[in-house]
């Protein structure tokens, strides 16, 4: 049984599906939906490399992912020094694309009494990540051993 992008197991025929947050109530809609995701992308679900890293970091920092933490984690994981504004840019763009959800967290004195915005991966975010990693793996697996023989 294949797991499709929405995380539901399907068998062949009539499955009644209801995906919360969308208007999909029926296999036909669902197929169209997946078709559209896979061909057109949801307005650029083609994740940039940096965006993908940020998305992954948000996942790692589960429920604790706010901009400064993301920045530090990225630095820890990838060794790259990132400015806070590039993190901001990426994170807001991802939110606009619908791949991240956010909520306002608690205040702290360290932030001068301001609240923080905490991001979490949304359903479509998870889907995008999986699509991306599947794609990578698929293509990686197609490279014959021979190509790497003498490298």
């Amino acid at each position: 049984m294949a797991n499709n992008a929405a995380g539901l197991s399907t068998s062949n025929q009539y499955t009644i599906i209801e995906i919360p947050g969308t208007n999909i109530q029926d296999t036909r809609d669902y197929n169209t939906y997946i078709y559209e995701i896979n061909t057109h992308g949801m307005k650029g679900t083609n994740l940039g490399e940096f965006e993908e890293l940020v998305l992954l970091t948000v996942g790692i920092l589960y429920d604790n992912a706010y901009s400064v933490a993301i920045k530090e984690e990225l630095n820890k994981q990838t060794g790259r020094k990132v400015t806070i504004s590039s993190v901001h840019a990426a994170v807001y763009r991802l939110e606009e694309k619908g791949l991240l959800d956010s909520r306002m967290g608690e205040q702290s004195e360290r932030r001068g009494g301001k609240r923080k915005r905490i991001f979490t991966i949304s359903k479509s975010g998870k889907a995008a990540l999986e699509t991306a990693s599947d794609l990578r793996n698929k293509m990686r697996n197609q490279i014959p051993e021979v190509a790497f023989k003498n490298i």
Partner: protein, 887 residues
């Protein structure tokens, strides 16, 4: 705990939109602290860098959605604020009413004035190349000084035949206003006094604001007996048709001058002084009887109807003489008869035409030139009124501080910033201003109608023109903000603690009004004072002029003119018919009454025995019958009246001339011969002085000589017979002169009409004074109310301690009365200089002395006491128990 540097933080807060601001600020704060922990010295720089890098699209304000949002927020807030403002205005009815009335008056005056000034300055703008167009006029110097707006007729052809390189086009036209009778089957109507001129194509070359609707510009006025009409005039003559259909039609001028229509023009829209409607060709003059009246080759006389205009190639710099004038002036000096005076032709630019007081525009009958003096006077007055209203507003608002203070204090506690409170007060003054302007517009409309006599008749005011809308908007915003500025600043600057403490009466509920406010209210008093004094002076002067003895008796005198071109036997017939009317007491044929607007003058030369150089004097002439002196009860001091024989050339002179001739006794003047250029006159009598010209001029030398064929007849009746006599007279007149209307004038009226301008000035002064007094009284009233409020405690205490009524009233009103006194002191020299310059126009002045300034001051005092009286009385009389009850 470290705090991030203020400046970049403020920058962040400035550019960042509301949604992202909190998280961004928090993130940067956290990072700043980390950076500080690592290396305190670079932390600030890091922070700057971070803020700088944050200037990105996600942070910025005004994405489309946000724009819409913030607009919506703005309007909701605005609506709310407006509600609050209206509520507050309604709660303070008196002070709101005072403000609105004052502002409305000031604004209405301003708008009215703006209309007038704009109108007068809008003339002749539609003339193309107007900066290169000049009028040639004549200046006389020598024993005869003066100006004439025309030039000698020969100059026109001189310029045409001797073209000068600086002249692009020159145009001569002769103004002759004829009656016109269009020849058509439809109407036989005669149009009297159309604005006709004789000219040729050059007119339209110099003045390019005419469009040709029909006819050929090059040939239309080439031949004699041709005329070009304006489209409107053609329609009046022949009815509405297309322009081409007018060509070929005939018009008869002055019963005997035929002309064929060869062209139709239309002047481009715009206010214009060029009101001519019929352009008859110059060639017609030589080809018809007109040549007896107008000699185009004459170099000796200068007639104001003989106009010469030039379009130069380049504008003539101010102060320099045009080069093309020299050959012309040389020719005049050569060819013209030498006289005792010299002529010089000069130029004036077209731009000054409408305001030319010296030369006037084109003729005496039409619209006179606008007077820049009175325009500037009006401007000053209107601006003063507006300022007074604004000052009222400022005073009342600031004086009300104490009641507003609590409100402001509470607002500040609840988190309002000073800017917000400031803008709220500014908004309030703008609202007040808008309300006032809405009332001021109809008021201005009314004043334009009521005071029609001050404004040129043809002025049309349409408040929907876009420049008015701009004006209104500008007034509301600018004046609203200006007048609201000071109160808003003071009120928003109130410190919270002072405002909310219950027992402190606030620094600005001061015992005495602060200096700034005193200055404002003094300004109002000074303006009113000056105006009161000026109005009184004008009033007295006008009365004086109307009542002064003019040296002759004009009571019950009426005059009627017979047509000047009628045969003399008709006048004799008229005379014989009138004599039959018993109610007429006395009759006198004359060419003009003793005191008149029109006059003729000549230069008389007297050669004393044994002298070479003759004494030349300008003497005014009156042609009269032997009954003249008796009719007007002018005394004959020496000698006798002249005999009714024209060939004797006997004259009677007045005292002024007799003195001029240098004789000690008037008797010595008798028998002397004086000459003008052609005739020798013998003086046979000396009459007492009378005012030949109106009282604005000095007494002048006058002589009377015999003229049997005068056209105007003056007669006296008893007042009760007057209307009956007029009826009989009119009947006789109509029988003898059927075509002419009979117009009877009363001498008294004629004399009064000399001073029409002055009467207008009187009325204007009266109105402005009333307005100024109203505005200052309003201001005073408002301030007194507040002062009374502030001083209730003081008055109560003093009363308890036994003060009398008098000293109590002093307490409240002292500062204002002192201000009035100071205003009087300052106003006196101002009024004095104004009056001096106005009185210069009059050779005969009313006897005004220091007492008029005192009178003005007394008026002000009385007025002030009236205004504050009631309130002060109430305050004094109130029970101290009430005022001292609450502490």
């Amino acid at each position: 705990m470290q705090v991030p540097p203020k400046l970049p933080l403020r920058a962040l807060r400035w550019f960042c939109n509301e949604e992202r601001l909190e998280e961004l600020e928090g993130d940067l704060h956290e990072l700043f602290l980390e950076s500080y922990e690592r290396n305190p010295r670079t932390a600030t720089l890091d922070y700057w860098w971070m803020v700088f890098r944050s200037f990105r699209f996600y942070a910025l304000k005004n994405s489309k959605q946000q724009k819409i949002n913030s607009m919506i927020h703005f309007f909701i807030l605005l609506k709310h604020q407006l509600k609050l403002i209206f509520r507050q205005l309604w709660q303070q009815k008196t002070s709101t009413a005072i403000n609105i009335v004052g502002l409305t008056i000031g604004l209405a005056g301003f708008i009215t004035l703006y209309s007038l000034v704009r109108y007068e300055f809008s003339f002749n703008h539609h003339v193309p190349d107007s900066e290169r167009i000049y009028r040639l006029y004549t200046e006389f110097s020598g024993s005869f000084d003066g100006y004439n707006r025309g030039v000698t007729a020969g100059a026109g052809s001189f310029l045409k035949n001797n073209p000068h390189q600086d002249i692009e086009h020159s145009s001569q036209f002769i103004i002759k206003s004829y009656s016109a009778q269009p020849v058509s089957t439809k109407n036989e109507e005669e149009f009297r006094y159309v604005k006709s001129i004789f000219t040729d194509t050059t007119f339209f070359q110099v003045f390019g604001m005419y469009d040709w609707l029909a006819g050929n510009p090059a040939t239309a006025l080439q031949g004699p007996h041709t005329v070009v009409l304006t489209a409107q005039q053609a329609e009046k003559y022949f009815g509405t048709q297309s322009a081409d259909q007018f060509i070929g039609k005939q018009v008869t001028y002055r019963d005997s001058l035929q002309a064929t229509v060869t062209g139709i023009v239309q002047q481009r829209p715009g206010n214009t002084d060029f009101i001519f409607t019929d352009f008859i060709s110059l060639k017609t003059i030589k080809a018809s009887w007109v040549k007896d009246n107008v000699q185009l080759d004459d170099w000796n006389s200068t007639n104001s109807g003989s106009q010469l205009w030039v379009k130069a190639r380049k504008p003539i710099p101010e102060g320099t003489k045009a080069a093309f004038l020299s050959p012309l002036n040389e020719h005049i000096a050569k060819v013209g008869e030498s006289k005792d005076w010299t002529r010089e032709v000069k130029t004036k630019p077209l731009s000054g035409l409408h305001f030319d007081q010296q030369l006037s525009i084109f003729d005496n009958r039409g619209r006179g030139a606008a007077n820049t003096d009175s325009l500037s006077l009006l401007s000053i007055v209107c601006i003063a009124l507006l300022l007074m209203a604004m000052f009222n507003f400022i005073n009342l608002e600031t004086a009300n501080s104490s009641s507003r203070a609590k409100e402001v204090g509470v607002k500040k506690v609840l988190g309002s910033t000073r800017t917000i409170i400031f803008s709220k007060f500014i908004l309030q003054s703008i609202v007040l201003m808008t309300m006032s302007i809405l009332l001021a517009l109809p008021l201005a409309e009314f004043s334009l109608q009521w005071f029609e006599e001050f404004f040129p008749q043809e002025m049309v005011v349409n408040f929907l023109d876009w420049h008015y809308l701009f004006l209104i908007l500008g007034l509301v915003l600018i004046i609203g903000m200006l007048s609201g500025l000071y109160p808003a600043m003071r009120l928003s600057g109130i410190s919270i603690s002072k405002a909310l403490k219950s027992n402190v009466r606030l620094s600005f509920a001061e015992k005495n009004t602060p200096a700034f406010r005193k200055v404002l209210i003094s300004f109002q008093f000074i303006c009113s004072q000056v105006l009161i004094i000026v109005a009184l002076a004008v009033f007295f002067q006008v009365r004086f002029m109307l009542n002064k003895d003019l040296g002759f008796s004009g009571d019950h005198v009426m005059m009627i003119s017979t047509p000047w071109n009628a045969a003399h036997h008709k006048a004799q017939l008229f005379h014989s018919e009138i004599v039959k009317i018993p109610a007429i007491n006395a009759l006198n044929w004359q060419d003009s009454p003793p005191c008149s607007d029109s006059y003729s003058s000549t230069i008389l030369k007297y050669l004393p025995a044994g002298d070479d150089t003759p004494l030349k004097t300008v003497v005014y002439r009156k042609r009269a019958d032997t009954t003249y002196l008796d009719f007007y009860q002018i005394k004959l001091l020496e000698g006798r009246m002249f005999l009714p024989r024209a060939n004797l050339n006997e004259i009677v002179v007045n005292e002024v001339y007799a003195k001029e001739l240098g004789m000690k006794n008037y008797e010595d003047v008798l028998g002397i011969t004086v000459t003008d250029d052609d005739i020798s006159y013998t003086i046979v009598g000396v009459m007492s002085n009378f005012h030949n010209l109106n009282l604005k001029s000095e007494l002048v030398p006058v002589f009377l000589n015999y003229e049997p064929e005068n056209i105007e007849i003056a007669f006296k009746t008893r007042p009760e017979d007057a209307s009956a006599v007029i009826d009989q007279l009119t009947e006789i007149y109509r029988k003898i002169y059927p075509k002419n209307p009979a117009e009877v004038h009363f001498m008294d009226e004629t004399i009064r009409n000399f001073y029409l301008t002055e009467k207008k000035t009187e009325k204007l002064a009266l109105i402005t004074t009333i307005l100024a007094i109203t505005i200052s009284s309003l201001g005073l009233f408002g301030l007194i109310a507040i002062t009374v409020l502030q001083k209730t405690k003081e008055v109560g205490i003093r009363k308890v301690l036994g003060a009398g009524m008098w000293s109590l009233s002093k307490v409240i009103s002292k500062e204002f009365l002192i201000l009035i006194l100071i205003a009087l002191v300052i106003a006196t020299p101002v009024a004095y200089s104004l009056l001096e310059s106005w009185m210069e126009n009059f050779a005969f002045r009313a006897p005004l002395g220091w007492w008029i300034y005192l009178l003005g001051g007394i008026c002000s005092f009385v007025l002030a006491i009236l205004v504050i009286g009631w309130k002060v009385y109430k305050a004094i009389v109130s029970n101290p128990v009430d005022s001292l009850r609450y502490e």
